[in-house]
Amino acid sequence: MEATVAFTRTDDDRTPSVFVPVPVPKGRPRTAFHLRIRSEADVAVARRSSVPVFLLDARTVSALGYPIEFPSELVLPRWLLSAVTTAFRIIPFRSETAVLRPRFEDVALAMLSVDAIGARAILERNRDAIDPIYLLRRVVQEQVEEKATWVRFFDLVPTLPKVGRPIPKAALARKLRNNPTRESHP
């Protein structure tokens, strides 16, 4: 499968001259496909076809040191959003490469949308493996500076930009320390 980008005329709009029809090769009628992801297995099939999608699931997050149960969410590049139908909640990424080959830093960034404390915990519990340059690049690329600041990613990578107000250090530390492998909130 090869992903292509095309434009579709809306309603009765006149088509400006900058848009030209895509020629259809002789004898090979083209069928446009949508991606339909209904299960974890569908994600695996799509990935085998080099489609940039990955599933953020409890197993992966737990393996990174933050045991948790939550409904899996589908991470995909923004440009693919309109071509996917799925019942999974979606986390859009700007980086296609990070979706194709997610590193644990990317899992933490995706986790920011699900459970920000969990995102911080993933980084903290794998802090020796953090690539600070990669994390800096990815935080800026995904434009999550404010979210990252809120849960104090900058404690782990001081070069990260600080945008907005972070959770007080002591409060966050208590939250993470009280029960390192479980939730502790009332």
Binding site: E69, R78, D115, I167, P168, L172, N179, P186
Partner: protein
């Protein structure tokens, strides 16, 4: 924490510890949406701490309460199938200038419901409890997580109603506003 485990913990508290309680925290939220909380938190009367301490002092299936004093103290309960963290919380931090048990009674009488013999606090109570604490900023991500999982935003307004009763409404309203701002920030944008 699945509902079955919560019911087992509730049955254990009733039979072994003999204190009345209301399930709060993530386990109460889990009645309506799945959030994957891993402990069971229960609200108890201030006067029940001493009998709880006594009941948990020398048990084989549960550890003594830790820390040894305070308004939020926990035990680790060993059950068939694994260990469960159980947190006991008394009402003082949530009752404003009123006696701590006023909050417990209020939740029991007006802001909770019973399912399968277990009394669960409404989600508004859980959000109020998180927002009124000094450490509320560290609990705000849990609220965002719950909203994303499907708890209606109207529950935040319920938390303000509860706060009004305990003269905490201006504090909690301000914090609700903060949470709403964060919710907008964290909502994935589709461009």
């Amino acid at each position: 924490m699945n509902a079955d485990t919560v019911r087992k913990v509730a049955a254990w508290i009733r039979s072994e510890l003999s204190v009345p309680f209301v399930v709060v925290g993530g386990s109460a939220i889990e009645r309506s949406v799945s959030i994957g909380t891993k402990d069971v938190a229960v609200l108890i009367a201030v006067g029940d701490w001493s009998s709880l301490d006594a009941a948990l002092e020398n048990r084989r299936d549960a550890t003594p309460l830790d820390p040894t004093s305070g308004t939020i103290r926990g035990t680790v309960l060993t059950m068939p199938g694994g260990r469960v963290d159980v947190e006991f919380i008394s009402g003082e931090p949530f009752s404003g200038s009123r006696p701590g048990d006023d909050f417990v009674e209020y939740v029991r009488n007006y802001r909770s419901s019973t399912a399968h013999g277990v009394r669960y606090a409404d989600a508004g109570v859980v959000f109020y409890m998180r927002l009124v604490l000094d450490d509320w900023e560290a609990y705000a991500p849990s609220i965002l997580r719950d909203l994303r999982a499907g708890v209606p935003e109207a529950v935040l307004e319920q938390s303000v109603e509860i706060a009004r009763r305990f003269d905490q409404s201006s504090t909690v309203r301000q914090r609700v506003r903060f949470v709403m701002e964060k919710a907008r920030l964290f909502e994935p944008r589709r461009e």
